[in-house]
């Protein structure tokens, strides 16, 4: 948990690299990382935003949402669906 909180973007990029190869290259930046309260208690949900270059090949990243790799399961949720292909 400490490693994940310390640098969540890096861990998520690693997940992306494994679950949706090539898409991490489309990532431009990330921000807004927050530790939030969840159903499991305080500080149990990590949320952040990634900005990607618009590209049709982002689709596999969205469909990989919810898959698990190395004990990490990431859910992807576009801020604006109309921008996605």
């Amino acid at each position: 948990m400490k490693k994940l909180v310390a640098n969540p973007a890096v861990r998520v990029l690693q997940w992306m690299h494994e679950m949706s190869p090539g898409r991490h290259a489309l990532a431009k930046d990330s921000w807004g990382w927050e530790l939030q309260s969840g159903a499991a208690g305080p500080n149990t949900v990590i949320r952040g935003l990634f900005r990607f270059k618009q590209d049709p090949s982002l689709e596999p990243l969205l469909t990989a949402s919810g898959r698990s790799h190395n004990g990490m399961r990431a859910y992807w949720d576009p801020v604006n669906w109309e921008q996605t292909q």
């Binding site: 994940l4 309260s37 949900v45 270059k53 004990g71 576009p78 604006n80 996605t84």
Partner: protein
């Protein structure tokens, strides 16, 4: 009315609800998330049967809404990630159509989108995607 048209008919009356379903061939794969008022719920599942791909979407709806024939009312408590009870009233939409459309999507309401042209101009040709890691289903976050 097809399921897809029925969905958009219903969705148009409740623009605060949006969702995504992607056609996949994975067994019991939770493949996306449903957002209600900026809170992500894990309620979308797609299950591949022996012959057909079954897509099921559950979404919160007012208890008094008259559902189209393609929807089934379901009563089950839905909690947001922060533990708040979102609703006890759900509508279920299912498709067993083997030619399920590649994507069925709602849209983020205008008021939820980043405001101001400057933001859009500075970040033209980009798209922003939120990522959520919940310790309930993410061992690395527990």
């Amino acid at each position: 009315m097809t399921g897809r048209l029925a969905w958009f008919f219903c969705w148009s009356k409740h623009p605060e609800i949006w969702f995504s379903v992607e056609n996949q061939d994975r067994d019991h794969q939770i493949c996306s998330a449903l957002s209600v008022k900026d809170e992500v719920l894990e309620v979308i599942q797609m299950v591949k049967g022996n012959k057909d791909t079954v897509a099921t979407v559950l979404f919160p709806c007012p208890p008094d809404i008259k559902l189209d024939d393609d929807f089934t009312a379901v009563s089950s408590p839905v909690l947001a990630f922060n533990g708040r009870l979102v609703t006890r009233n759900l509508a279920k939409w299912s498709s067993t159509d083997s030619t399920l459309p590649q994507g069925i999507r709602g849209a983020v309401p205008m008021e939820k989108r980043p405001k101001g042209t400057s933001w859009e101009q500075r970040h033209a040709n980009t798209t922003v995607i939120r990522v959520t890691l919940d310790s309930r289903v993410c061992l690395a976050a527990s």
